[in-house]
Amino acid sequence: MHTLYTLFLLASLLSLALYKKPLLAQKVGFGLASILSLYGAVFFFANLNETLVWALPGNFISAPVFRLDPLGMFFSFLVSLVAFAVALFSFDYAKFYEKKANLAVFAALFNAFILSMLLVIASDNVFAFMLLWEVMTLLSAFLILINDGKNAAKNIMIYLGIAQIGAFCLMVALLVMASFAGSFEFSAFGQMEIGLGASLTLFVLLLIGLGSKAGMFPFHVWLPVAYCQCPSNASALMSGVMIKVALFAFIKFSLLLPQFVYFGYILLFMGALSAVFGIMYALVSNDYKAAIAYSSCENVGIIFLGLGGAFYGLGTNAPAIALLGFVAAFFHILNHAVFKSLLFMLSGNVYTATHTRDMDALGGLHKKMPVTSVLFFIAVLSICAIPPLNGFASEWVVYKTMVAGGTAQGASPRFFFALAIVALSITGAMAIMAFSKVYGSVFLGIGRDGKSTEKAQEVSMTRLVPLAFLASLCVGLGFFMQEVITLLLGLVLPLVPLASGAPEGFISMPLIVMVMLLCAIIPFVLFYLVKANNKEARVTDPWACGFLYNNAMQIGSNSFTGDIRKALNFLLKHESEVKIDGYFSKAVYTKKTRDLFWDKLYEPVVHYTMLIADKIGIFQNGKTNLYAAYILVYLCLVLIFGYYFL
């Protein structure tokens, strides 16, 4: 596996070397990335049940070792698979950022980012892990910066700020765990003898640290901000893959702690909150990219629900539930990576065609971009968990875990699992509404604002091929649900001690497809029997109750969710503003929803930090004399301290 890592490093350096020729660098850099990722995907999948170890040669601090056990193999496979599709997509897509950044740098950052993620998954040592984690965060921040704009610096600061809080918690947790275990190697963390209090604190620290990177509520505020700012292929990679790396780290480290049932409860609760709040903000958003980003938060919530069931099973020694929970979580991780990256890349297509992210200005793009439209439809069906696609398959397994967990005796498991299922079903209902709105406002109907959709045209084949590949994966993973589950069971079995057999009683997706096909025959039989009128339909304007139809009469994205907005008024704070300039001119109506937790949680913290920083800032008055005096005072203090205390 070290060949793969070195090749990625070389690819990154090579693209950087082609600094002077950006377009060539784009082709070379992303082309190499896609070939290497394909090789990586095949390699990791072939070695799925093995463990590979590699030590970094040379005299580095703490002698880093890289180890890939089957869990790591699966995640590396996932990273490579998505990276392959995104790299192939960027082969043609990156040229839109030619004026904003040097494409050679873009390609180099891309390769380096994939490399850093693979190395994070493989790290076996606390220092190597933290170093590579920070490198990964920094590289993703640079990727966001490629799309430099008005608020770019502020958005990146928000992202980095939350990432740093997370890294701090993570570092503390890892160091405490290392001190308990007596060594800095993860493979030696094995069995730690710590009690409930310490274990719970470590778990919460890990959850905050890694959950904030994954986009768990309430640390999700950076998700829409960062994803809307960065170029679509970067957001596809970040959302599809970086989140999964965070989840991998979370699973890996939490499994090293002694298990208690409270872990499961915490995860179930946080997962439920993430799912509901995520999709709620997606529902009321008028920017399709923000909607997709919030939906990432929702899906991470669903994954945490699965993990909650798994940890509950581990904590109460119920191996069947634990197995189901892990299978559900991993299946959903796989599916989410596939359909989320697909959605982001498709939204990138739409953005480059229309240059606007406002859904109220789009519409009728299906006529201009038919293939993108069909692929988007498949992706939307997946994310809304509609049978027979893959979203439904993994959500069904999550439901099964919840039901299995909820049959237990005792009020607390019943309560938490019931809460989880309720949250999941509300999420399902809201997801349908959110995504039908996104799909409808962007692709269907007629263009609401004529200008944006005028120049749109279908994108080139090189951009559509990887998207079609991912869409076929969506369909395939759903159809071959049973085989995927068997594969994942093999992966998960070592994680659950005392596991006896494979769980049973799964639905059969081919059966569903068969029944649906059977039902599909009936209409045609009916038409034949009744001798229906099969003539072509006559084309005309939509019916507007006798008025002359115009484009503005359609439903738009803002009005579509108006009723639900009113219903959820207690949770969402929206500001609506109506400006009327006199009787004969147009009235302007704006409505904005602010993220509730931004105001309640983050604003006060930011405000107080700024206040304290302002007070401390007086020390820094800019004169070098004073700074030299500071050094002097410090030295004297250190000398006195050393003399008296040491």
């Binding site: 401390i616 800032g617 007086i618 020390f619 820094q620 008055n621 800019g622 004169k623 070098t624 004399n625 004073l626 030299a628 005096a629 002097l632």
Partner: protein, 228 residues
């Protein structure tokens, strides 16, 4: 003949010589610090370094370690000749003659520096004497005094060139302390100090030119862009 004579009466007269040299060095360091004209300061600095060279030679005659001789020669060449010449040339190139207003004024700052340096040197030499090879109080006191004068020069004076001189001054103090406390160290240690002197002065000289070009004067209190 003279040499034999010095060897017999060597210890006592040498000790006195070194003491006299130490006092002279303290005076010159005060001079470097307080003179308003750059030319005078640089000349005082050259005198002081010459005094240090003489101290090295005295030590050599007392203890006979050949490293001291090498040090004396190299210090003479670089610090008495080259550095002051470079600084004089810099001053001439920039066309400045008189220093700008320091912190607290031309009268207060020397007084403050003097008193604080004396106080701190009092504390330090007691510590140094524990590990020094040369067990005489006054030169060690002088070394710490020069060092502290240099630092206060840095803290209290506003002009860039004066700060370079202050830097050289405390570097002199370090050099002297090294010679007094560990005079049989390897030549390479000397190289360390001299590299410091040469490169630091060169680089700071270039920066001074740039500074003068950007701000129009050598007053460092004008550069407050990084104010918090």
């Amino acid at each position: 003949m003279y040499l034999i004579g010095t060897l017999y009466y060597g210890d006592i007269t040498m000790a006195h010589t070194i003491d006299i040299l130490a006092v002279l060095m303290m005076v010159t360091s005060f001079a470097v610090f307080s003179f308003r004209q750059y030319r005078h300061s640089i000349q005082a600095y050259a005198v002081q370094t010459f005094l240090i060279v003489l101290t090295f030679l005295a030590l050599y005659f007392t203890y006979g370690t050949h490293e001291l001789l090498v040090w004396a020669l190299t210090a003479f060449v670089i610090k008495v000749v080259c550095v002051p010449l470079y600084l004089l040339r810099l001053v001439k190139r920039l066309g400045v003659v008189v220093e700008d207003e320091p912190v607290g004024g031309f009268f207060i700052s020397p007084v403050v520096a003097l008193s604080f340096s004396l106080a701190v040197a009092m504390m330090f030499y007691k510590v140094f004497i524990n590990f020094s090879l040369f067990q005489d109080a006054l030169p060690l006191f002088a070394a710490s005094f020069i060092f502290m004068m240099g630092i206060f020069g840095f803290v209290l004076r506003n002009s860039f060139i004066k700060q370079i001189l202050a830097y050289c001054l405390f570097e002199n103090g370090i050099h002297l302390s090294l010679a007094l406390m560990a005079y049989n160290s390897h030549e390479l240690v000397e190289v360390g100090i001299l590299t410091d002197a040469v490169f630091a002065v060169l680089i700071m000289g270039i920066l001074a030119k740039r500074f003068y070009g950007t701000y129009g004067s050598l007053d460092t209190s004008k550069a407050v862009n990084l104010k918090g």
